[in-house]
């Protein structure tokens, strides 16, 4: 057979996705420093607010309040802030456009990105939960499944918002805004201290943190308010992303 004789054929979807997820993970590992740094803030909050009395937290058990909040913060950091920044730049570099026009296809690319993000979140949450347990947090195992469910819902909302921002703004602006939102949520989202206003309880971070506190620290079901709030956020953000998502 001659070298370039046409013989186009798509590889199996499984093989294509495996290979793309692998690439996403390689690139994630290459940003290792950035990810460790991104975990630095939650870790500091965990140790600072969890072990000292620098802030006032509701209830008598500081770790029971702080650790689930830190887990929720980490999910936001990775699924929203990190993802908005990388997606903005990947769009800017033409990567989304080029890969979308390969046999990988656009849904395949979105699937691979989501899978890589979820894998990263799992690793980060396990690491932070381990630190929490090491310093004295005693989680309940009974409500782990609902906790995972609400985490997937939060991840969906954050991903939608990240893709939306990355599609409508320049990558530099996306980076700035995503970081600003992160800082505001860290302050107002009920992580280090109780959310300052009622309105904050409707923020995805506060709703997610509240749900993780109920399930992991207290062995209770996810509050209905958390389900409702995050479901609305997820619906709105995913619809916005689907409407506005730009490949180039």
């Amino acid at each position: 057979m001659t070298t370039f004789a046409p013989a186009p054929a798509r590889n199996s979807t499984k093989a294509i996705l495996r290979s793309q997820v692998r690439m996403e993970l390689i690139l994630t590992a290459r940003r290792g420093e950035a990810i460790v740094l991104a975990m630095g803030v939650p870790l500091l909050v965990l140790l600072g607010a969890g072990l000292t009395h620098v802030t006032n937290v509701p209830g008598g058990d500081r770790l029971a309040y702080v650790v689930p909040g830190v887990l929720a913060l980490t999910v936001m950091s990775t699924a929203f802030t990190g993802q908005a920044i990388t997606t903005g730049y990947e769009r800017n570099y033409g990567v989304l456009k080029r890969l979308g026009a390969s046999p990988l296809s656009r849904p395949g690319l979105l699937f691979a990105k989501t899978a890589a993000i979820l894998a990263l979140i799992v690793v980060q949450l396990l690491a932070l939960a381990a630190v929490g347990v090491a310093v004295g947090w005693r989680p309940h195992a009974g409500q782990v499944l609902p906790a995972l469910g609400i985490t997937v819902l939060a991840t969906t909302a954050y991903t939608g918002l990240a893709l939306f921002l990355a599609s409508v703004l320049k990558p530099e602006t996306t980076t700035g805004l995503a970081t600003l939102i992160y800082v505001l949520m860290l302050a107002a989202g009920g992580i280090m201290f109780a959310a300052p206003t009622q309105i904050a309880e409707f923020l995805p971070l506060a709703a997610h943190a509240e749900a993780l506190r109920a399930t992991l620290s207290h062995g209770q079901p996810v509050p209905l308010g958390s389900w409702a709030s995050l479901a609305v956020w997820a619906a709105v953000c995913v619809v916005a992303a689907a409407r506005k998502f730009r490949w180039e």
Binding site: T2, F4, A5, P6, P8, A9, R10, I16, Q20, G94
Partner: protein, 289 residues
């Protein structure tokens, strides 16, 4: 194999037969890249429809893409991945890819295979992008200014590769503003101007159809040779005869000079190049504005 497109580009229909090279010429803004973008499914046609290999690039995107090889003008790669990883990634999307190592070697990228994309030179990025377009054994490749930013050696390697693609039955649509590139590689040339096709044909046919070959004769000054062609004597003793000059016509012209008793000291024929045709068309466009 046929496709036609209508968009910002106004009613263009092109045919690239199997194993042929079609060059799309035109200056910046003529609509070359817009046309490719529509064919590649990146943008919808504003009106009308676009079919590539009989498929709709947007509606039948996933069925079409494996059959196409796409080389963008720039970018499209993860800056932090190495050249080798990127080619391997695209190879893995195909059921029977060309061996990536062979492509790396053919394109002279051995030394850069472990280099991250953002550290590659412009020419190396272009060569990698070409390799990525070819690795899936496509039927039709779209090359948007494939040799832009390449050094002379890489350009020649790329030209050889494109000739090999044609020989192996791959259809190639390339855009370029290098006229020598089009003249050397293309079976057919389409010159675009303001989103429309200004001229189309084989390079030789285009230059011949323009019809005005030139005969330059150096002889005694001030002669008035009686020939059925336009004769100009720009400098005394240097005559330019323009027209459809075949061998018989040239013999007749020279006979006229002989009859006038002239001492002919030099004769030179000049064929119009693609560049002349191109410039004639684009100058005409300028005059319309």
């Amino acid at each position: 194999m046929r496709y036609g497109a209508t968009t910002a580009v106004d009613g263009v229909s092109l045919t690239v037969p199997r194993g042929r090279v079609l060059a799309l010429l035109g200056h910046n803004g003529a609509g070359k890249t817009s046309l490719l973008q529509v064919c590649e499914g990146f943008r919808p046609a504003d009106g009308g429809e676009c079919r590539v290999l009989g498929l709709d690039p947007i509606g039948e995107h996933d069925a079409l893409m494996p059959r196409l090889g796409i080389m963008l003008q720039s970018g499209g790669m993860y800056p932090w991945a190495t050249a080798g990883e990127l080619l391997q990634l695209f190879a893995s999307f195909s059921a029977n890819p060309i061996n990536p190592e062979m492509l790396i070697e053919r394109l002279g990228l051995q030394k850069s295979a472990k280099t991250r994309y953002r550290r590659l030179s412009g020419g190396e990025q272009q060569r990698l992008s070409l390799a990525v377009a070819l690795v899936g054994r496509p039927e039709l490749v779209f090359l948007d200014e494939p040799t832009a930013g390449m050094d002379t050696e890489a350009r020649h390697t790329t030209w050889q590769l494109i000739e090999e693609l044609r020989a192996d039955g791959v259809s190639v649509l390339l855009t370029t503003h290098l006229l020598d590139e089009a003249e050397r590689l293309a079976d057919d040339v389409v010159i675009m101007r303001e989103g429309r096709v200004a001229a189309t044909g084989a390079p030789a046919a285009l230059t011949a159809a323009a019809g005005i070959d030139l005969l330059e004769v150096r002889a005694d000054a001030g002669l008035k040779p009686d020939v059925p062609f336009k004769v100009t004597e720009a400098t005394p003793g240097e005559y330019a005869i323009a027209g459809a000059l075949d061998a018989a016509a040239i013999a007749e012209v020279l006979a006229c000079f002989a009859r006038a008793g002239a001492q002919v000291t030099a004769v030179n024929t000049r064929r119009r190049t693609l560049e002349d045709v191109y410039l004639a068309l684009t100058v005409k466009a300028g005059a319309h504005r």
